[in-house]
Symmetry: none
Subunit: 198 residues, 4 copies
């Protein structure tokens, strides 16, 4: 009965909204927020342009949605890692996940990092703050692991680790070389191993 016309419709309400969020996350990662048009996102989400505005009142809301989609992905990852019994292993799992994305990173950089770079150049809208929030999410989780490991200054270590990730993603991207992810990833893993146990 529902979806009798098939094609673009989906079963549950909100499915369209989700398609739009995912499309926004993907396209904005690839093209950047500024070069992405509403029409681009609508096309990928298979939603008519005019209809987008029922789910997101402005383009900025769509970019915010892209950000929270990335936050969601991050949570999926950390939730998964949280099942590991050892904090050190969790951190190593995180790094391995990063390295696993090396081709994407070499082509488009870290989704959240590059978006933060772009949004930080705006004055209005507060989207820059939103981007910072997502990065802080990661920072907090990492800090938590270092604390569990009994490390002194877990916040400083967390900052170092996340900075390293952002740095290596940016370099891999700028040099268009995925090997950067491998080399720096390996270095980070060795560094983690070298840390004293509590």
């Amino acid at each position: 009965m529902t979806d009798s016309q098939g094609s673009t419709r989906s079963r549950t309400a909100g499915a369209k909204r989700q398609r739009l969020m995912r499309a926004a996350a993907e396209v904005v990662h690839r093209q950047g927020a500024e070069r992405t048009t509403i029409a681009d996102i609508a096309r990928v989400a298979d939603v008519p342009v005019g209809n987008v505005y029922y789910y997101f009142k402005t383009k900025d809301e769509l970019v915010a949605a892209a950000l929270s989609e990335h936050a969601r992905q991050l949570e999926l990852l950390t939730d998964h890692l949280d099942r590991l019994p050892d904090s050190r292993e969790r951190l190593k799992g995180l790094i391995e996940a990063w390295v696993g994305q090396r081709d994407l990173a070499a082509r488009y950089g870290c989704p959240t990092g590059t978006l933060a770079v772009e949004l930080d150049k705006r004055d209005e809208g507060g989207l820059d703050v939103e981007a910072g929030r997502v990065i802080r999410l990661l920072l907090t989780w990492v800090e938590h692991q270092f604390r569990e490991l009994g490390q002194p200054e877990p916040d400083g270590l967390a900052l170092t680790l996340v900075s390293a990730y952002q740095g290596m993603s940016l370099m891999a991207n700028a040099l268009r070389d995925p090997a950067v992810m491998d080399r720096e990833g390996a270095r980070l893993l060795a560094w983690l191993d070298s840390l004293e146990a509590a």
Copy 2:
């Protein structure tokens, strides 16, 4: 005192071109390439919009000019550092220069790094390659210092150092916190000190 009417006229030929390059570098750093209009740059350089095209045929050429202006700044810095007798001191001088820019970094990130991020999301124009070239310039200089220090794998060390710089700039920017530059800068200095002499 001279130039009392103050506006568009300047003493030497080519001065306008230079004003435009500097304005482009500055405005693009602050606003990003995409959000910067030719009119923005023209205003800062105090040049009529139509006249900009006498010096730069397209907007892309202006962005390229901004990039090479950053490359020039980098060369000024490394030329200066090259006067120091010790390679380790040169590298420490570099880091101190980075930290010295902490407020700018916290507000707008590393000029070259953020520009690379933005340009890498384009397919056409080859400006992304240009951005990579500037970063490679830095990489090469740093590698040279590590080699002089007699370090094994100077290229890997250079990559680590420059990545760290890009990472900390991005994090300072995303968190809007200049202290990031201080903390990570100090860590890098300590790391340099810890390296064995040849």
Copy 3:
């Protein structure tokens, strides 16, 4: 009575597109492609400038549309003439149609011919080829009539006839004298009559 507000709204969908095509054909004929602005066409079609791009992505597409509008007019004419039983009469009908347009020809020349002249001075876009195609349409129809008449070398005769039309239109236009169309038209009619029956 309906459409009392009278301006941009129309009954059927696609009506606007058609209005734009016709306006393009008319204005381009009068002003030439180069001197015609999108705004000119938009004004005549009573469509807001920005909206034109919903129907035609570039100005070149609008010029192509003007060309195909002329092709359509030509087909209407030949379809009409095809109802005549005798090929010779069809050709004479064609010439009479040309002469019937003498005032328009004296003022602006043959729509397709003048457009071809203008477009052939371009290198890019391939619109010149498009213009050639429309002229070939006419050539082919005329050739078909000569063949039915049992004439030897119907292609050569067709070329002569269409060339004569283009020549007389150009001369009428350059001299601003519609009488040119009458005189040369009469000559062509006499020539047709003088051709041997098969």
Copy 4:
């Protein structure tokens, strides 16, 4: 003494003016008046842009100069043909000259004809009248030959011949086929031969 700085200067005053006229004629023929910029002409004439305005106050004056350059070329040709003793031979010589230009015609059409087509689409400036004048020059010369041949209605014959030339040039151009010039040229020669002597 004069021309001590060499390079772009030329011996006689007015040489620059001549270079500009020739360049205008050539470039306008190739690109059309509208697509030709002052800078294009200046480049071909090897004259600095700013200097053009000492010789021609507006772009329209340059186009007029292009026209009169074509008129001059025409006069050179007819002066040359006038040396032939027989009028019929003079007309045949004219046609042969046309056919001799077949490749240029196939690429860019008749210089005067195509310019007339373009200029006739303007309202202001009176350049259209100027173009008509050049064509009338040719018409008058041809008519004179037919009159000398003792033909009745020499003006009508002249119109027919010049129309034929414009038509075949336009068709050769539109079809991008120089062979059109050969075929129609041969037809015109045969036609001339078929005319009764007085």
